[in-house]
Amino acid sequence: MEKFICGNDAVAEGVRLARPHVISAYPITPQTIAVERLSDMCEDGSLKADYMHVESEHSALAAAMGVSSVGARAFTATSSQGLLYMAECLPYASGARLPIVMMNANRAIATPWNIYGDQMDSMFLLNSGWIQVYVEDAQEALDMMIQAYRIAEDKRVMAPVMVNLDGFVLTHTYELVNIPSQEDVDAFLPPINLEDQVMTIDNPKSLCISAGNDFNFEFKIKQEQDLTNSKSVLEEVDEAFSQAFGRKYHGLLETYKMEDAEAVLITTGSITGTTRIVVDEMRQAGHKVGLLKLRYLRPFPQEALNKALEGIKAIGVIDKNISFGYEGTIYTNVNSSIIHMETPPKSINFIGGLGGRDITKANIEEAFQKLMSGDSLDRVQYMNVRCEQ
């Protein structure tokens, strides 16, 4: 069935199909429509879940931890300040290996206060032990809600998943979205069954334990290994998804028109769609340009990225965030990956979109031109700004 819906609606539809037992959420713009739709679904019975009206984001994730700790499927959703407010709970959940799924509507961080989309919020939490995926459109948002539970609950992974979609540009924009049947989703995503991992009456456990300097490090190493190894599971789940539903997202990253490309832009989230069009237009005009869409930032797809960039002369990394005092966070991550290549491409950071500022087709074309010009450029370039660089 196809429906003309916004990204938040698509998230709610995806969550409904994934059949969570409990939803604990606190409203924050621009996530609100997603939790409003889920409330409607709980009310009309199309989703048999308990909706917990928690008093804060901190409690939203803490409650989800409680839900998940007894083996039930938990969902929460947040954005921006709300994500930062619950930040303490993120490593708690991942360290306890609780397979919670959360939607994050990427939004700017105060101050100056701003409700529009950039990716400053989730970048703060890259180190939280959560899998982070960034979606390009409403369809991918819906599909990733379903994939996320299968990934999180995979016993080889046992890690919470944060599905990021750009505030307003995706959350509030309407698109035609294919909604899979419950039957097909049920076949793809079986009921949660983690008896050995969670607290049960027959086999009681202590969870979220403490471990001193004699054991703590080993717990962290195990967590690190499992998150790194989850890369193959993500690919596997995406492949299984494409078999079942006919939509393929290419796992960790997607390359677009990169054969023989001289300049490549690396994107995450919704800006990918605009960049695709610019690549098409510039290709028609004879320019050898391409696009690499990073889907997952954690685990970071180092091997796949380096392989995809072989033979590329110049890359530009679009960051909708700044790590103050340095550069864009994705740029830092990409550079630390490509230094392991034999002949790494030259790399430039294009920071744009902060506080919801447009990144236009012209801005993207300009970025490609800069990359192809061979000029010596400052490593950090701001896109579409009104002040001197």
């Binding site: 604990s24 901190h58 839900v67 938990a74 607290m199 334990i209 054991f215 717990f219």
Partner: protein
């Protein structure tokens, strides 16, 4: 079901922990677990009880239990209860064990949320009147005149200058299903209240007065005596909030000596006569109100 020393079961669900000798709080947890039984899921935030009972690989709870973020006792316990209900797992109890700071300060918001939703959980506040796990710092439940490491007593200050936050009435003001105060000095009363909480549908809250030899500076063999004296001297009280009505359970004709209670504890050693008068005046004001409205 009545509980006393004769009827109490011999099954232990909480042992092998590393709490100090004479710890009032660990006694409370042990007794609560005896009454709630093996189908109990516990949530414990940062604090003494979590610090002494989950040290890998030695786990002190034989039942399901987990550490929660400091502010999150109410939320995690509520989540557990919601999860169990959604899975159709019946005849279970979900309990949160937080300290005075974990309840009256950092955890107050999450507790308020749980009571507002009337989640089916039992919330235990083990009140030893300061942040003991971090080394005896003042909390919202530290009484007037207490020397702590953040309220030093000196020429200018008598230790803590604030009175205890009124947690019992704060939770009652939510219209909570059941709330009570208790003391490890009066164990039958305490166990009766746990039994009531166990049988309450919706949120219940038990505020347990629990001396701490390490933080209070008293001998480890006077924990129970002090917990009794606090009640007998009127500095603590035994009450319930049931069917939306307050009820005072114990109304001494005459108060036992406040000085006697205070003098056994290092934390009050510095108090002057006028400080003790302030403590008594506050006590009398509180009791006047309770006797007028709760009997």
């Amino acid at each position: 079901m009545k509980h006393n020393a004769r009827t109490l079961n011999t099954t232990e669900h909480f042992y092998g922990h590393k709490a100090c000798g004479g710890c009032g709080e660990s006694l409370a947890v042990r007794l609560v677990m005896k009454i709630l039984g093996e189908r109990t899921f516990s949530a414990l935030p940062a604090g003494c009880m979590s610090a002494v009972s989950f040290i890998y690989p030695n786990m002190a709870f034989t039942t399901n239990a987990m550490i929660t973020p400091f502010a999150s006792t109410g939320a995690v316990a509520a989540g557990m209860a919601a999860g169990l209900k959604a899975l159709g797992i019946e005849d279970t109890h979900t309990v949160g064990f937080a300290g005075d700071g974990g309840t009256a300060d950092i955890g107050l918001q999450a507790l308020s949320g749980a009571i507002d939703r009337n989640d089916d959980i039992i919330y235990i506040c083990n009140d030893n009147e300061a942040y003991m796990n971090t080394g005896i710092q003042k909390s919202g439940l530290t009484p007037y005149g207490t020397k702590t490491t953040t309220t030093p007593a000196g020429k200018n200050l008598p230790g803590s200058v604030t009175m205890k936050k009124n947690m019992f009435e704060i939770v009652a003001a939510h219209g909570i299903a059941y709330a009570a105060t208790a003391s490890v000095g009066y164990l039958e009363d305490l166990m009766m209240k746990i039994e009531k909480a166990k049988n309450t549908k919706g949120t219940s809250y038990i505020h347990i007065f629990a001396p701490c030899p390490t933080g209070w500076g008293h001998e480890t063999n006077v924990t129970i005596e002090l917990a009794k004296q606090a009640v007998d001297s009127g500095l603590w009280y035994l009450a319930e909030f049931e069917n939306q009505e307050f009820k005072l359970n114990k109304n001494p004709k005459e108060f036992a000596s406040v000085e006697d209670y205070l003098s056994k504890q290092g934390r009050f050693k510095h108090l002057q006569a006028d400080d003790i008068e302030i403590i008594k005046a506050h006590r009398d004001q509180k009791w006047e109100k309770m006797r007028k409205n709760w009997i």
